[in-house]
């Protein structure tokens, strides 16, 4: 049940970016070997946000199979490609020296905020 700890950390990150609770959704990315069971994470997230201003927040999970780290420019990028075919070209610098990495990745990618409409302009 380490998903409960992970859900708590996601909740803290959401709160830090939107302390007023006006959040519609949070998008996370999980590496193929992140050892996170998605249903358990969803249930845990429901539990930690229960009876808070965030209890309606949707948790959107994207599974990533692999992330490449460019040895030349150190930028990361994800691109589905069979590892046995060798690394893809780096979309940032064009070199072809990627390393397979990120299987353990767990990131909050985005938060969908609900904002007040701008006041009408003259």
């Amino acid at each position: 049940m380490h998903e409960l700890s992970i859900a708590s950390e996601i909740f803290k990150i959401v709160q830090s970016h939107a302390p007023d609770g006006r959040v519609l959704a949070v998008g996370i990315r999980l590496g193929a070997w992140s050892c996170v069971q998605e249903d358990s994470l969803r249930n845990s997230f429901r539990w930690v946000t229960d009876q808070t201003a965030y209890e309606q927040v949707r948790l959107e999970v994207e599974r990533i199979e692999e992330i490449w780290i460019c040895e030349t420019c150190q930028q990361s990028f994800d691109q589905s490609k069979d590892a046995s075919d060798g690394p893809p070209d780096c979309p940032w610098c064009g070199q072809r020296l990627g390393l397979l990495d990120g299987l353990q990745e767990m990131r909050v990618e985005w938060i969908e905020l609900q904002e007040e409409p701008e006041t009408s302009r003259e």
């Binding site: 380490h2 996370i28 070997w33 353990q104 909050v108 990618e109 985005w110 938060i111 904002e115 007040e116």
Partner: protein, 222 residues
Amino acid sequence: MEPRILQVRTKILKANDTLARQMREDFLGRGMFVSNWVSSPGSGKTLWLESTLRGMIQRGHRVAAIVGDLETDRDARRLERSGARVRQIMTHGLCHLEAAMIQQEWEGWGLGPIDYLFIENVGNLVCPTSWDLGESLRVGLLSVTEGEDKPLKYPGLFNTCDVVLLTKMDLAVACEFQQDAAIQNLQTVRPGVEVLETSGKTLGGLEAWIDWIEDRSGKKRL
């Protein structure tokens, strides 16, 4: 009300990772080499760690250990037989150790100078995977009784290991353990990982293991 997407791109365990990085710098600054031992329950972690602590003390190293279990201090009492200072963390249900738990134990301990701190994680092949404890070395243990295909079944954890110890090698024949297959499976999920053979029963492999960890840490005493 208009929705707006805020790009965050933050590691979910950033708080743990940041603390662990600070702890690692602090440990290394004190000349301490910290290892985090992970495996399934019953793989022989505690017995091998007890032997390791005893062997390192005999070589003149100053050692200490922190051990995590859901309940009881049985493992701490076993490890203390080596003569090392030991602390037990009882997680009361939590399936892994986190950096803040190690920090809390360490800061309240008041130990003098230490060369090696060993952390025996909760026996679990899934949950400890993602939590950096400030270690410089992650040690995985795979017992011959578990079967050679464990690394393929639990790739995430074995992928994070710097070295894997095959334990209970004295039982390898009785278990019809296929060592070549086990090593191949480990290399599949963690290319390049070093693998050492050990037996807590016969102490086979102990001196080679202590040599290995001394080489890795750059610390030699006797």
